[in-house]
């Protein structure tokens, strides 16, 4: 532990890695809360995979991968909506079809355009190679996400909880839906270096689900979710650095372990307390008999 802190103070790359991952943990915790409550987890997985062709084309054109990823993310969500709205195909199948096709196209494009090492980096992340420009991009995305969510918190809350009421009083719920898709794409772009596209979904869904088990208020759920996201990032980086493990999977596992702890020990939603209560009640019944 002391060695890790020493290295953290000495090496710039480790500081950048830590700052970026914590930022990613916080951003994905915020956006993930809405994804989980709106039942869009699968959509989150889809969008994060589907940005791949956008990134590949950006590389080919020599522009920042940020733009390509955003365009690919939005096109994917529109494509999924178009299929499920206009045919008898259900949403989950539409998601599966569109994102696997986009992902496949992305892999082919990248393997044609670049050497394979880049592909592994994009798929699994490589947080210890974060450049200053990547860190700035992540922090910039963080500012945008926090700004958007705090400005439109009311509308996000209402449309997530009761979409029909939102529609009746004239909120454009379609626009909100696609707005969330854009946020989702931003989170994916921010997470590329840290956990990679394949594991983005774990940062989106796992900390938010952990928070969902522990609170009855959306505002507090968002705070908790960001906190768990950040903690998972710190734990993941620590073990990844000390034990030479791949960083993305280490962060994803840390998030999953925290989730399991909450699932077992949560006072209201956990599985442990009801079990103990049942035992006690049985015990009491036994004594009175």
């Amino acid at each position: 532990m002391i060695n890790f802190i020493n290295d953290l103070l000495t090496y710039g790359f480790l500081q950048k890695a830590l700052v970026t991952s914590i930022a990613v943990g916080i951003i994905s915790g915020i956006v993930g809360s809405f994804i989980v409550l709106r039942g869009m987890s699968l959509m989150g997985d889809a969008i994060s995979h589907a940005v791949l062709p956008g990134i590949a084309i950006s590389y080919m054109l020599g522009i920042n991968y940020f733009y390509g990823a955003i365009i690919a993310g939005v096109l994917t969500s529109i494509g999924i909506g178009a299929i499920s709205d206009n045919s008898r195909i259900k949403t989950d199948s539409a998601i599966g079809i569109v994102f696997s096709a986009a992902f496949a196209l992305g892999i082919i494009l990248i393997s044609k355009a670049q050497s394979t090492t880049d592909l592994t980096q994009i798929l699994f992340g490589n947080v210890l190679h974060v450049r200053t420009s990547d860190m700035r991009l992540t922090l910039g995305i963080g500012v945008i996400v926090i700004l958007v969510v705090s400005l439109f918190y009311k509308e996000l809350l209402l449309s997530s909880f009761d979409e029909t009421m939102a529609q009746v009083y004239g909120l454009n719920t379609k626009l909100i839906h696609y707005g969330i898709m854009v946020l989702l794409t931003l989170v994916t772009v921010a997470s590329l270096q840290t956990v990679g596209v394949i594991l983005v979904v774990s940062m989106l869904i796992t900390p938010a689900s952990t928070a969902y088990l522990l609170t009855n208020r959306l505002s507090f759920m968002i705070v908790l979710s960001s906190f768990f996201g950040a903690i998972s990032a710190i734990i993941g980086i620590y073990f990844s650095y000390v034990n030479d493990l791949p960083t993305g999977p280490a962060i994803a596992l840390a998030a999953a372990i925290i989730f399991v702890l909450a699932l077992v020990f949560s006072p209201k939603q956990g599985v442990l307390w009801p079990m103990i209560n049942r035992r006690q009640r049985k015990g009491l019944e036994g004594e009175t008999r």
């Binding site: 400005l151 009311k154 029909t164 009746v168 609170t215 009855n216």
Partner: protein, 247 residues
């Protein structure tokens, strides 16, 4: 008395099946109106059609001679209980506060005025003591009361309530109907989807009777007659209502 709601030639379908066929009526303001019909007769669809929540095949809807887009903020809607995610992390008071959102507009957060209003509305439905509880902890009747409080907090002119009396206890039902009658006496108009025929004469001023087509719309005493009801319900009417005993 001025017109509150004009519906002309409203038709709607789900896929290939037509659910509503050329419905036209015009209702007065300041009335408590029941939307009545057998199961699957399109009652909820009519409500959704009026509020622009589903695409219409044909039809035009006017509120006080204005299109919905002009009066949205004066309209309150309560969806069916089954359409709500009761596990959503939201407390009773925050649910009622949602009712103040339409008038707040973008970027403005609910403040003291809105909180006071929400508490007052919760008090009206006898739920003030439960303000800080989570909505999933409430019983069926309490949930309906919370959503009525939310509608009250919207301070609307027109209320559209989908099945507010389903799965609730007698005292909740009484609290809700008394609040609705009070609203009506203040000049508001309330439309509610309802399927219990035994309460029709005691609850409503007007009814809209549908079963895919319109069978009648107007004062209860004109529409709630055996011949008209039998036409709409067919032979199943006796299952819902024992006419001989009542009349």
């Amino acid at each position: 008395m001025h017109k509150s709601l004009d519906v002309e030639n409203l038709s709607a379908s789900y896929g290939e099946t037509q659910v509503l066929e050329n419905i036209s009526f015009s209702m007065k303001a300041g009335r408590l109106v029941g939307i009545i019909g057998p199961n699957g007769s399109g009652k909820s669809t009519l409500l959704k059609g009026i509020l622009g929540l589903i695409p219409l095949d044909t039809g035009e809807v006017k509120f006080c001679h204005e299109p919905l887009s002009k009066v949205r903020k004066r309209v309150a809607y309560k969806p069916q209980s089954s359409e709500i995610d009761w596990d959503f992390p939201i407390t009773v008071i925050d649910t009622v506060l949602l009712g103040t959102y339409p008038k707040l507009g973008l970027f403005k957060r609910p403040g003291k005025r809105e909180r006071d209003l929400a508490m007052k509305c919760l008090g009206k439905v006898g739920m003030a003591d439960f303000a800080q509880r989570q909505i999933s902890e409430m019983s069926g009747g309490q949930r309906q009361r919370v959503f009525l409080a939310r509608a009250l907090a919207q301070e609307a002119e027109c209320f559209f309530l989908d099945e507010p009396f389903v799965g609730i206890d007698a005292s909740s039902e009484e609290i809700i109907i008394n609040n609705l009658k009070e609203l009506r006496d203040l000049g508001k108009t309330i439309y509610l989807v309802h399927h219990d025929l035994t309460k029709v004469t005691s609850y409503f001023d007007d009814i809209i009777l549908i079963n895919k087509k319109l069978y009648g719309a107007g004062p209860v005493e004109d529409i709630f007659k055996k011949e008209i009801m039998e036409e709409a319900f067919g032979s199943s009417l006796s299952v819902f209502y024992n006419w001989e005993v009542k009349s």
